[in-house]
């Protein structure tokens, strides 16, 4: 089976931090560590007047892709908790398909 990956539609990641906290609970790590981290590119207005302001959550080297949960048929903690439902889990190939369907402000992470 191909390697697991996390897809994110970061056009709609609201920066809510739920994934971070859910992951910390899953990995049972301290508050100063992250299995997935939410980054912010702070807001500015572009020349054409449109606004730029992005959040993106990316899994760190501590991420184990929730092996035990996935084995039990559950979603990874971050994916389940995500309030905007912009995180998805799958194989690299499955995630690539998602990316093809929305080739804008989306990404695949393989921790």
């Amino acid at each position: 089976m191909s390697h697991g990956a996390i897809y994110i539609d970061f056009e709609f990641c609201s920066g809510c931090h739920s994934c971070e906290i859910a992951c910390r609970k899953h990995l049972r790590i301290a508050n100063d560590k992250d299995g997935i981290k939410v980054l912010e590119d702070r807001p500015y207005q572009q020349e054409n007047g449109a606004w730029h302001w992005d959040y993106i959550a990316y899994p760190t080297e501590l991420c184990d892709l929730c092996e035990d949960r996935v084995a039990e048929g559950k979603l990874p903690s971050c994916v389940q908790a995500c309030q905007a439902k912009v995180l998805e889990f799958g194989t690299i190939e499955e995630c690539a398909e998602k990316l093809k369907k929305k080739p804008k402000k989306a990404a695949i992470f393989v921790p």
Partner: protein, 808 residues
């Protein structure tokens, strides 16, 4: 569906719906709580919950950190009155604590009358179901108090709705009432949603699951229009954002009505059939063409036309109104105009429009999965707290009619909110007029603190002087430390049984069970504590209840759904039909129409007229601004708004929870980039923010998203890590934005305050510093309070009863 309780290995897993504590509004998010040996080992979202589908916000995800926090208080405590303000608490038994409260109350009732006892409720937590019952049914007092100036949270919107439509709270349609959600037959997604003075993702949402907006944007291409002085993140994903001057919303809403009528973007047939006073409304709005609103609101005129056109052309369209409607003395008029906007499109209570509830005060119940309508309601006088109090002789009719403070001056507030009028109550505390108040209870309320009360220093001085005070809460806070004699420890949402109905049942999407998963310390639920004290004071009434479940069955769920059934189902959807006004599901007589005087949506409000208010919306500029106070505003050149939420805090709560606090360690003031340059302030500087009422410090965040000339200050900040004793009180006075705003600057009906339109000045300072003492923080207190009244008198020239005032 999984069982509500199941065993997996050595873990028991409970399915339950969250309410409070910790603080939240009744959204009822689905939890799966993993318990091992009586201890919670994990809290995760419930994938089977039809609304939240496994998602949770940071507060519930960190729930174990909250319930097992070392600072949480899990045993009853007492303290001698002379030690108020000092950390000299002693653990005691439940019995002793209840006796102390009951004995103190009995003595005060005998000597001064039950009305001299008041009970404070806060915002959001389920105890705001119970604080009126504490007052009316435990003590026999009419004085329950929600201590926000002008009752300015939710109350004004509820009242607008009751006066103009007669139904329960309007909410956007995200298929929230159906178990098959977006697949529900006949449901369509809103084409456009207007977020007016509301950021639904982060705001404490009354009952709405905010991120459903993102689901609908992604899945159905729903477009957004935002009306807000801030460009918030959701705004950057919206089609149009109208960044208006704070407090000018009513002008903007009237201009939309102007455009939609002129361009025939309304449903004229629907208006003729179901509304009253449309022509008068349109005539009134002729005074507010977009060109004029553009000037008042500081928004490009063309953008106003575009927004109104986009909204008016959408099929269907939906409108979400937020706290900005409430926290504005001109807000009653704004609410009126927004209800007009929700209805003249014809999309009120239509699929993909703005949903309407069937009732209020828990009268909206479901039976066997289907709605029961108003005509089927059981005529049960037990329904009303007041009727019970009268029937069992706990409170006399005379006490209710004559001793409830402030409702003589503000009868419109008194007619809907069954409490005292907050600003008038504060005056009564201070002046002992019309009578002296002797005792207070605080059930999930912290008026000395940083959440809801304007001029908290005044509440502080008044409350700490009372004869006896008690509180029900989870953590020590400034109110309890400075004022209370008894502390009752409250069980969290996963430590007690109960029900949660979204929007306090006034427009419920579902009814959820709160299932008890664990016991922590000796904590008890709000209801259990109320029953214990109630039994000591009024056993005739209270002895009928043995357990929380008895009370839930009696007073919460009444007869339609015994708690045991709800517990097993975990979630019961309301499955209410659309177009309830067409099929006689809104009016008590079962006839089609709306439960208003005219049977129609009253765009021209006969209720407002009855209260002596203008029946049509009108614009009034902010009380504290360049237009109203040209001289004073030179010293305070910026307008401040406050109240935008961080989702990881519930108002003043959660500041002790490290996982949450580290997301926003310090309170921040958002300053426009150009303003920051002009005032010599850089990102990360400490800033002193001053108004005519006081000054505080917050940390600068410089951002182009703020409208120029407007700053936003975070609310709710105190420092539980600091010294808790008086006068510091956990740094209560340092960054507390409420110290910048007055009480008693309300609209004519008695609703509204200045939390979202206050003039301020800012300057760079070094460090958090600030004073630890409310008296030396530049706050205007007695005897120099005169200055405060100078400002207020400009707004309301005489402190006269409303009817006299209105005659001028």
């Amino acid at each position: 569906m999984s069982e509500w309780k199941r065993q997996e290995g050595d873990e028991t897993i409970f399915r339950t719906c969250a309410w409070s504590p910790p603080g939240c509004h009744p959204v009822g998010c689905g939890l799966q709580v993993h318990v091992k040996d009586g201890v919670v080992v994990d809290v995760e979202g419930d994938p089977e919950h039809p609304i939240t589908k496994g998602s949770l916000c940071p507060r519930c995800l960190a729930l174990t950190d909250y319930i097992y926090h070392p600072d949480r208080i899990i045993h009853p405590m007492k303290r001698a009155k002379e030690d108020r303000g000092l950390d000299k608490w002693q653990q005691c038994s439940w019995d002793e604590a209840c006796d102390m409260v009951a004995n103190a109350a009995q003595e005060i009732i005998d000597n001064y009358g039950p009305e001299t006892i008041c009970v404070f409720g806060g915002t959001g937590r389920e105890a705001n179901y119970w604080y009126t019952q504490w007052a009316n049914l435990v003590f026999g007092s009419p004085n329950s108090v929600y201590a926000q100036a002008g009752w300015s949270c939710y109350g004004p919107r509820i009242s607008n709705t009751a006066f103009m439509i007669g139904g329960g709270y309007p909410e956007i349609d995200y298929a929230q009432k159906f178990s098959d959600r977006y697949d529900h037959e006949g449901w369509v997604a809103p084409e456009v949603i207007v977020c007016w003075g509301k950021e639904p993702l982060r705001s404490n949402p009354d009952g709405m699951y905010g991120h459903a907006v993102i689901e609908m944007m992604r899945q159905f291409g729903t477009k957004l229009i935002c009306v807000d002085p801030r460009m918030h993140w959701l705004g950057t994903r919206s089609d149009i954002v109208l960044q208006l001057n704070p407090g000018t919303d009513t002008a903007m809403a009237m201009a939309w009505i102007y455009v939609m009528d002129k361009e025939n973007l309304v449903d004229r047939e629907w208006i003729d059939a179901w509304t009253y006073g449309y022509d008068a409304l349109v005539e009134r709005c002729q005074s507010m063409p977009p060109s004029k609103a553009a000037e008042i609101c500081g928004v490009d005129e063309e953008l106003i036309w575009q927004a109104a056109r986009l909204y008016g052309s959408a099929k269907p369209s939906s409108l979400a109104w937020g706290l900005a409607v409430d926290q504005n003395p001109n807000g009653t008029q704004l609410g009126q105009a927004l209800i007009a906007l929700m209805t003249i499109t014809g999309f009120i209570d239509a699929p993909g429009g703005t949903t309407l509830g069937m009732g209020d005060d828990g009268g909206n119940r479901v039976k066997e999965g289907g709605g029961i309508d108003a005509s089927q309601r059981i005529e049960d006088e037990n329904d009303s707290t007041l009727m019970l109090a009268l029937k069992y002789g706990i409170m006399s009719q005379e006490t209710w009619d004559t001793k409830r403070i402030g409702v003589d001056k503000y009868p419109a507030v008194g007619s809907i909110m069954w409490t005292a009028h907050p600003d008038e109550f504060l005056k009564a505390l201070e002046t002992e007029n019309p009578y002296k108040v002797h005792m207070a209870g605080f059930v999930s309320s912290n008026p000395v603190g940083t959440a809801i009360s304007a001029e908290p220093q005044r509440w502080y001085k008044a409350l700490k002087a009372l004869d006896f005070n008690f509180a029900c809460d989870c953590f020590m806070n400034p109110t309890i430390m400075s004022c209370c004699d008894v502390f009752f420890p409250v069980a969290s949402t996963i430590e007690h049984d109960g029900m949660v109905a979204t929007h306090y049942a006034s427009n419920a999407s579902f009814y959820g069970a709160q299932n008890k998963c664990v016991q922590v310390g000796e904590c008890k639920s709000d209801i259990e504590i109320m029953m214990m004290v109630g039994k000591k004071l009024h056993p005739d009434f209270w002895n009928r209840f043995e357990t929380q479940e008895d009370y839930d069955n009696f007073h919460v769920m009444r007869s339609w759904l015994p708690f045991k059934e709800l517990r097993e189902k975990v979630v019961v959807m309301s499955e209410e039909p659309y177009y309830k006004y067409k099929i006689g599901k809104l009016r008590p007589d079962g006839q089609p129409g709306f439960p208003t005087m005219t049977g129609r949506v009253e765009l021209y409000s006969t209720m407002y007229q009855n209260w002596g208010e203008d029946p049509l919306p009108y614009y009034e500029p902010p009380a504290y601004g360049k237009e109203s106070l040209p001289e004073l505003s030179k010293q305070y050149p910026l307008m401040m708004i406050t109240g935008a939420r961080e989702q990881h805090f519930f108002h003043s709560e959660h500041k002790q929870i490290q996982a949450l606090r580290q997301l926003t360690p310090w309170p921040m003031i958002d300053i426009n980039t150009q303003d920051a340059l002009d005032f010599g302030i850089a990102e990360g500087d400490w800033v002193e923010i001053s108004s005519p009422y006081g000054s505080i410090r917050q940390l600068a965040r410089v951002t182009p998203t703020m409208k120029k000339g407007v700053v936003h200050c975070m609310h709710g900040f105190w420092y539980p890590e600091e010294d808790g004793e008086v006068p510091n009180l956990y740094g209560n006075w340092k960054s507390n934005v409420n110290m910048l705003m007055p009480n008693s600057v309300n609209g004519k009906l008695g609703f509204g305050d200045t939390f979202k339109q206050m003039m301020v000045n800012i300057k760079k300072v070094v460090g958090l510093g600030g004073s630890n003492d409310p008296d030396t923080n530049g706050i205007i207190l007695e005897p120099s309070r005169q200055a405060e009244f100078t400002v207020q008198q400009v707004w309301r020239p005489e402190d006269a009863p409303t009817d006299q005032y209105l005659q001028k």
